[in-house]
Amino acid sequence: MGRYLLGRLAQSVLTLLLVSVVVFAGVRAMPGDPALLLAGDDPDPATVAGIRERLGLDQPLPVQYLLWLARMARLDFGESVRTGLPVADTIWTRIPVTLELAALSLLVAALIGIATGVVAAVRQGRPADWAANSAALLGMSIPNFWMGLMGVLLFAVVLGWLPASGFVPLTESPAGNLASMVMPATVLGTGLAAVIMRQTRSSMIEVLGADYVRTARAKGMPPHRVVLVHALRNSLITVLTILGLQLGGLISGAVVTEQIFVLPGFGRLMVESVFTRDFPVIQAAVMVTAAGYILVNLAVDLLYSVVDPRIRVRSAPSGRGAERGAR
């Protein structure tokens, strides 16, 4: 296990390095000189040159890249061009909001998606299956922003149950925090729930046809136990993969959702910084996002072995192991 983990970590570091090259190159390829931007409205060449030197922009690109990388490694993301505040501080204040949103959305998505997926699989080909599939198609087709706006209209404007926008920190008022998060999390979660439902349904149908499910029935186990204990855990293996891969969708979804509900999160930060050409913030935000994505997928890989004992590392590699790995 230790060796496996080390290998995976090395792989993750490599991925992150590749991301950093892309981000660095991308930002440098964007039109506009950061030094000019920093120098203000009426730049005098000496000031610009000074800023250039201070930011290291006068160095050759590879050197710049390495210097930037070295600072990144120390979590020193530089200062925001727009506010002059350290980028790290800005990111740290924004991340909890998005993390909470992502976690709650994932919870909503998993609860709805797995539950309806199981029902659809058990009732395959019957009205419940049909309804679940239609709902999933609807969930996938409706854009987040529209669903968000409709939610605001119904729950905030007409019914007045939930705030239309804004964010209450958890430390200030847990109830207020939850109220401000319910709608964004539901909006963001339902789209993802549709994907999870489809995946759960198809893997559940496969598992329900497996010999060991027949064995469980032949043992006299009641249907709920056959489905929820014997079949569900086996079908979760593929669902987990989808959860990890959907995180990317969750992040881009968060950008939109945070705009609609005016949440001071990471997604909003990214949008704001792109509009104001706040390069240090963009760079840092993309790097942090990539790191988060990689970490979550690493966690998913480790979770496999919790769910499926066959994936727990064996002493001798065998053909069957390779087969499973390829799935």
Partner: protein, 567 residues
């Protein structure tokens, strides 16, 4: 599943010590399909007494599993059962789903065919055993755990305490089947339905599992319904036999009578189709070996071997699957390579077909060294050899018609085209006794035997000098197997290709092979002329293999079993 019964209460004998425990009366099963109802079985009537083993035999699709599983409501939802099935005089078909659940696994338990997949991979063996005990006997967790350990000991699993904590994938196939049996007998069932319990196992393991079932029957007085297609297994274990054909019982009676003096022609045909160790002896001498293959490149003084392997070693990581195998297949000769699962025989086959690079050693096909050749340089040489796999259902492209599948190698090697190609395809299909009408069919429209005929036609399209056949008949019913083997023998004699015939079935190998090589643990332990190796084996392992294969004759099988137990 729904049930209807015309009458009720009649024929339920008063339970006595020897009264039938399970009784099928005029049971028929129908399935609702898109195209109307399909009758799977009809008029099934037979009894099972305590401590009796009743074998239900028949080929795939004969309805033998469906009949047995209908007793505990394990049919697909579209199934509909009529008639009467009683357990100790109690009508099973009237039970609602909840009551039926307390019968399943408790009064009537099932052992399925595939031990590899019958256990849930994500739970420990102990957990799965305890689940039954807790459900039906209401045991507490610790009590169930203790009882689970006892059950594992009962079915002969060494170090039961450790096995409790093991996951299914950590056990061998035989051990898994023991666990499944332990689970089935956990609640001391009145009836055990064993659905092809040893079909997926090696012969030596099969013999152990059959011994275990016999022992449990004697000790627990469990009645056993043994569903099987293997007449050797029937002879070994059964007291009575029920023969099914196309959904109906054509014959039933005492095992000795059915196997030695079958009354129904179908039974006789079924028995005749079973390859029978010792029956084919003497086949080899009448085969004058062709001096060379069909005259393709003129007469040569000394034709090279069709296949020659020297010191073949294959490693997967730290595992040595093949450790120094050398063998030779002469032109026009059939070499039978036998061994149990994991012996490395299929790996040898893959190396011989140049589908896998050996770690070391050399592979010569028709005199040319193909060891480690890159795919590009190997491609033209592939004319000389081809392979037939075990499962014809998955080795044919489902989206290609039969004709296209057979024509593909001819097209790839640009042998012929247009009308000549069509003619050659027709000729090939004809040679495997498939009509030209088959050409436009897709694999799913064919039976298993027909598909395997297509695979053979395809393999022979380029008139190879070497054919590698990896268990080509193990997925087929015995009567179909017999046809395919006949066809194969005929083609081999006519075309004179050399053949490496890989099989776990000694009787099949005896039927075909000129010489036999026995593999175990990646090594060849014995090889020589078929009649000698199978008739007077030198190596103890060959002897054990031969002794473990059951023969379809109850008296001979009994004698063999006793001899095996003594030796």
């Amino acid at each position: 599943m729904t049930t209807t019964r015309p009458s009720e209460g009649d024929g339920a004998a008063a339970p006595g010590p020897d009264a039938p425990v399970l009784r099928f009366t005029d049971v028929s099963v129908r399935f609702a399909t898109g195209g109307g109802e399909v009758r799977a079985t009809s008029g099934i009537t037979f009894d099972v007494r305590p401590a009796e083993v009743v074998a239900v035999v028949g080929e795939s699709g004969s309805g033998k599993s469906v009949s047995a599983l209908s007793s505990i409501g394990l049919l697909p939802r579209t199934g509909r059962v009529d008639g009467s099935i009683t357990l100790d005089g109690r009508e099973l078909l009237d039970l609602d789903e909840r009551r039926m659940r307390s019968v399943r696994g408790n009064d009537v338990a099932v052992v399925f065919q595939e031990p590899m997949t019958a256990l849930n991979p994500v739970f420990t063996v102990g957990w799965q055993l305890a689940e039954v005990l807790r459900r039906h006997l209401g045991m507490t967790r610790p009590a169930a755990r203790d009882r689970a350990r006892e059950l594992l000991e009962l079915v002969g699993i060494p170090d039961a305490r450790r096995a409790l904590r093991a996951y299914p994938h950590q056990l061998s196939g035989g051990q898994r089947q023991r666990v499944v049996i332990a689970m089935a007998v956990a609640c001391d069932p009145k009836v055990l339905i064993a659905d092809e319990p040893t079909t997926a196992l090696d012969v030596t393991v099969q013999a152990e599992i059959l011994d275990l079932l016999r022992d449990l029957r004697d000790r627990l007085r469990t009645a056993i319904v043994l569903i099987t297609h293997d007449m050797g297994v029937v002879a070994d274990l059964a007291d009575r036999v029920v023969v099914m054909y196309r959904g109906e019982i054509v014959e039933q009676g005492d095992v000795r009578q059915v196997l030695t003096e079958p009354r129904h022609p179908y039974t006789a045909r079924l028995l005749a189709a079973v390859p029978h160790l010792g029956r084919a002896a003497g086949r080899a001498p009448d085969r004058a070996r062709p001096a060379a293959g069909p005259e393709r490149d003129g007469a040569q003084a000394d034709p090279p071997a069709a296949l020659e392997l020297r010191d073949l070693v294959v490693e997967y990581g730290a595992v040595r699957a093949v450790r120094g195998v050398s063998l030779r297949v002469d032109p026009g000769e059939v070499l039978g390579l036998v061994g149990e699962s994991g012996s490395g025989k299929s790996t040898v086959g893959r190396c011989a077909a140049a589908l896998q690079h050996p770690t070391s050693g050399t592979v010569h096909i028709a005199g040319r060294d193909v060891t480690g050749l890159p795919a590009r340089r190997l491609r033209p040489l592939r004319r000389d050899f081809s392979i037939v796999f075990q499962d014809p259902a998955s080795s044919l492209d489902p989206r290609m018609t039969v004709g296209d599948s057979v024509a593909e190698p001819l097209r790839m090697h640009r042998v012929c085209r247009g009308r000549a190609l069509a003619g050659r395809v027709a000729e090939l299909l004809d040679s495997v006794a498939l009509g030209a009408g088959m050409r436009d069919r897709y694999p799913h429209e064919l039976s298993g035997g027909q598909r395997q005929r297509v695979s053979i036609a395809r393999a022979l399209a380029l008139e190879p000098r070497l054919l590698i056949a990896d268990e080509p008949t193990s997925a087929l019913d015995v009567s179909v197997q017999a046809e395919i083997l006949d066809l194969f023998l005929d083609l081999q004699r006519r075309l004179g290709f050399g053949c490496l015939f890989i099989s776990h079935d000694l009787a099949v190998v005896e039927l075909l092979a000129d010489r036999v090589a026995v593999m175990r643990g990646g090594e060849i332990v014995e090889s020589g002329p078929a009649s000698r190796v199978l008739g007077e084996p030198d190596h103890p392992y060959t002897r054990a293999l031969l002794a473990a294969a059951p023969v379809p004759d109850p008296d001979r099988q009994r004698a063999r079993r006793l001899a095996r137990a003594a030796g």
